[in-house]
Subunit: 582 residues, 2 copies
């Protein structure tokens, strides 16, 4: 038998028992006559003691042990003389009587400690060793727990988990599909799903009423730090619902998870913010609501005062950095440099200090007197001691720059506490987005999203103005999920495809089955998909989804541990009817 | 609002309430002044009534309704005068006051009834309509419930569900891999996992101790009726365990599922049968234990009596078809024809009737007198009224033919009741299997399976005789799962690869990461993988796993509903650095 207990289990009540443990050697301390071995498994740590009474043979064996060896020991539980209150097993230790080395270990390439000395690359190459570290294991424990709780909640709400296929058909956004050559159908390919969207809609047509699935999805795109070619969605769909039904149902899920996982309760509904308001007040459709500091537009009150920089632009707006009037020249220069970075893209930064004595000091004193600046301060609800930061330019870019600046100031003021959670819904998204390069509309959410009833007539007159029955779920400025009420009518769906410039032939080829299905009685339906990796990372307080994936890929889409992707043999290529053309 | 209740919900207590329902029209009956509409959703059926008091406008609308239209109705719940005890809502009906057609339906290509008139092909093409039928929906409900219960049980046993990657590396059995061309790494491919085997072993090296995952796996092979290119496994692995630990843990899971899903309890442990015994007594490593009728070898007692057919063969064996002595000439001829079918492959069938009067009548009376046949009967535990069926030939093929014959007789005698369940473990499998064509050993389970400790020395002398720490879980003659205690030592693993004729280079290329991992302290570990689709089908009493998959593929690996696989564009091929060579 390998063990009677785990390494996290023994307590003062177990004193006197003969036990068997197995695990990894975390540490060995040799103090002259005594040797202490800390044994580790998933459940905890236990101290093993070799003392003066330990048989010589065991002591000799102990000399050959090393870090990360896997051993099995038998021994007697005794009370520790110097207890360790930080360790759950810290009241006891084991006087060893048997020792078997189950596996030796070479010296690991980095230390298996909470704070390791291993760099990113090295830890990815030896991911199986990185996974031994407590913080990484705890991330996956959180993920496991979230998965179980999500299923428990949705099962309780009568959602059925139904598996949809992985080998499907390439879609119009096919450029981002992973494809899979068929061996039995020469020259033909499957595609891996970017999402189970069409299948879950078919399940609604089938009458399944409430569906969910925690499912891998695949998307080939330029990988950023927080993107992975394969990622996991909590995919959900419901029939006979409107937008509020969906929002309320999944607000229920979110509240359940906040309660079960984070121990947090929320009074009332999560805020629902229209897309227009989100852009207006936060410069972003995923606002971080852990703090206020709303954007204020100043265009009207600041233009026409002779300041050419302002007079020549579309939009001027600012934020109020409360209590920051004492910022030094250096700090203000830093902020100016920050907003001028290419990824922020502002031309410059105008500041106004609202001094404690009620006077104003600004970088535009030449154009705006004390009275003028007072107007600014009033618009922005500022009080003495506050600092106003103002940007100008075209509306879209300036709002975006203000968003970034707001988050930066939020960080500097410690307003973005990772233990605080501010969830919200963003609603009333535009249906279509104009792509200037391709001179074409794109679906802002996806082509199956329904327009607001009252906007449908705009298809003919002003498609860009249509609003969608689409919504995003945002926590702390991170988009956790998004969904929509779907089109469930073949005609309207065809209209949508036309607006997107997808030809009848392509529609038929790619989505014929869905339009066919709509001919046989489709219910009104809608749903949502959450990014499971991202939700875990937000709950875990990390910026990177990679920390919540057991075996992630790097930025080039490679798994450097198994060295994949890799070449395949000519025989295999031939069987797939393929040849390589580099 | 689309509904206040579902179509399966209303009872006599609801009489008098104003309610709203939505659903599909299952049936319309027009009885002169009255029209009855049966409304269906996932939860049940409710009868809607248009009577003489119904406003003319609604009656007109009713005339335009058809089967499978999706409608929303409002109305008042009344008690039915003629109740339908077969329907949970059969005590009430709804007097309609509002009617909205949400979606029209064309006439479906087959009837949406429990017994449909649609053929296989048609139902697959319109799978979304087939899924509306009760028996198909109930199959997926069973699957959903099994999935939730499996997770509940394993979570309770401290197993962690950890997702392993789908885009992995091609393996030596790569001929059966689905591959995925990489766009960012020209000429390179990922492979889809045939199973997460190596990853779950790495998780054990990482110390996760107990892992599971309900996960899609992919295998390109000649598709048979009960195979799918993508299928779902319940994949499990544990550390610090021996074979009995694994068997007991998952026997716990099986008993839990039997109890929760089928309401069945089992006393004591499931039978554990060695591979050798299974072959000897059932001619199969997946015996159907719902009935006895064990195979009996007769070689010794029947040879040397002058019957050349028997004297010239390796093996003679038979089964006792109890109570079948009255089988007619025609029935015996049928059985003879049955065993002579190419897929059974016997040359002929010898029978012995043990008549009620104690005499024997056989097809080999010429060679074996009454005394001789009595010996047969004694060996086979026969009593008057029984029929002995005997086959002869080479041992392997004859045992297999007897297995098929035994199942056939079991069917004829009604001994294979689909509501009866006889689970068992098959243990002590051979480690290696000789492939005469390729003159090579193959791993009977897989190359990571450990040999029995006492057999390890046979690597050098007689590898074919080695037994493995491998086991299968079988219910009613169907293999539900299989697993093994793994090798956890790089040297032994290398020995195994060598025995399988896998070169050092190939080993390094394909499994270097696993052998590397074993250098840093690997725990003893083992596990099992269950075929989830198959387990569902056995619990559901069906022979086909397809009935338990929402969107299955056909025998050519095609999804005929979405028409996949399909061709992709030249642009896409170019981006993948590929060209087609048919």
């Amino acid at each position: 038998m390998y063990r009677t207990h785990t390494c996290g289990e023994l307590r003062i009540e177990n004193v006197g028992q003969e036990i068997v443990l197995s695990g990894w050697i975390q540490a060995i301390r040799n103090l002259g006559g005594m040797t202490f071995v800390t044994l580790r498994d998933r459940y905890g740590l236990t101290q093993i003691v070799f003392d003066e009474n330990t048989p010589e043979k065991l002591k000799l064996k102990a000399g050959e042990l090393g870090r990360e060896f896997v051993i099995r020991i038998a021994g007697n539980v005794i009370e520790r003389s110097s207890k360790n209150p930080k360790m759950p097993t810290g009241e006891i230790e084991i006087i060893i009587s048997e020792l078997d080395v189950l596996s030796k270990s070479e010296i690991p390439p980095f230390t298996i400690e909470d704070d390791t000395d291993g760099g990113d690359e090295l830890r990815m190459k030896y991911r199986y060793l990185d996974l031994r570290r407590n913080p990484v294991r705890e991330n996956l424990e959180l993920r496991h727990k979230m998965g179980q709780e999500i299923r428990k909640y949705l099962d309780g709400e009568k959602f059925m988990e139904i598996e949809t296929p992985y080998l499907i058909k390439s879609t119009p956004e096919g450029a981002r599909d992973f494809v899979v050559p068929s061996r039995m159908n020469p020259g033909e390919f499957y595609a891996l799903p970017q999402s189970p969207q069409t299948f879950k809609q078919l399940l609604m047509v089938s009458g399944f009423d409430r569906y969910f699935q925690i499912v891998k999805c695949f998307r080939y795109e330029d990988l950023r730090a927080d993107r992975q070619p394969e990622f996991t969605q909590i995919d959900c769909e419901m029939s006979f619902v409107g937008q509020e039904d969906v929002l309320n149902t999944f607000e229920g899920l979110a509240k359940y998870l906040f309660k079960e996982i984070k121990g947090l309760s929320f009074d009332g509904s999560f805020p629902r913010i229209t897309y227009d308001d989100a852009i207006k007040y936060y410069g972003s459709d995923k606002p971080d609501l852990r703090f206020g500091m709303k954007l204020v537009e100043l265009t009207e009150i600041v233009q026409g005062k002779g300041f050419k920089v302002f007079d020549s632009v579309e939009y001027i707006g600012g934020i109020n950095a409360e209590g920051c009037a004492e910022y030094s020249r250096k700090q203000l220069d830093e902020l100016t440099a920050f907003v001028q970075k290419p990824q922020v893209g502002a031309k410059g930064l105008v500041y106004v200090k609202y001094n404690q004595d009620g006077s104003f000091k600004s970088s535009v004193d030449k154009f705006y007197g004390q009275e003028g600046l007072k107007l600014w301060a009033e618009s922005m609800n500022a009080k003495p001691g506050d600092l106003l930061l103002v940007l100008a330019g075209n509306k879209k870019d300036t709002l975006n720059a203000l968003n970034v600046l707001r988050l930066e100031i939020g960080d500097r003021l410690g307003l973005r506490d990772k233990d605080k959670f501010a969830p919200c819904w963003i609603v009333d998204f535009p249906l279509l987005e104009w792509n200037e390069e391709e001179k074409n509309f794109f679906a802002m959410h996806h082509p199956f999203t329904s327009p607001k009833d009252e906007d449908i007539t705009l298809f003919e007159t002003n498609p860009g103005e249509m609003r969608a029955n689409a919504y995003d779920f945002v926590i702390n400025g991170v988009e956790i999920g998004g969904g929509s009420i779907r089109i469930f009518n073949a005609e309207l769906q065809q209209k949508m495809f036309t607006a997107l410039g997808i030809s009848k032939e392509e529609t038929e080829e790619k989505f014929g089955f869905l339009l066919d299905a709509f001919k046989y009685g489709a219910p009104p339906h809608g749903g949502i998909a959450f990014g499971f990796d991202r939700w875990c990372s937000v709950f875990g307080g990390s910026e990177s989804i990679r920390d919540y994936i057991a075996f992630p890929k790097n930025n080039a889409g490679r798994d450097i541990m198994i060295n994949s992707p890799s070449e395949i043999g000519q025989k295999q290529l031939k069987e797939l009817f393929l040849s390589i053309k580099k």
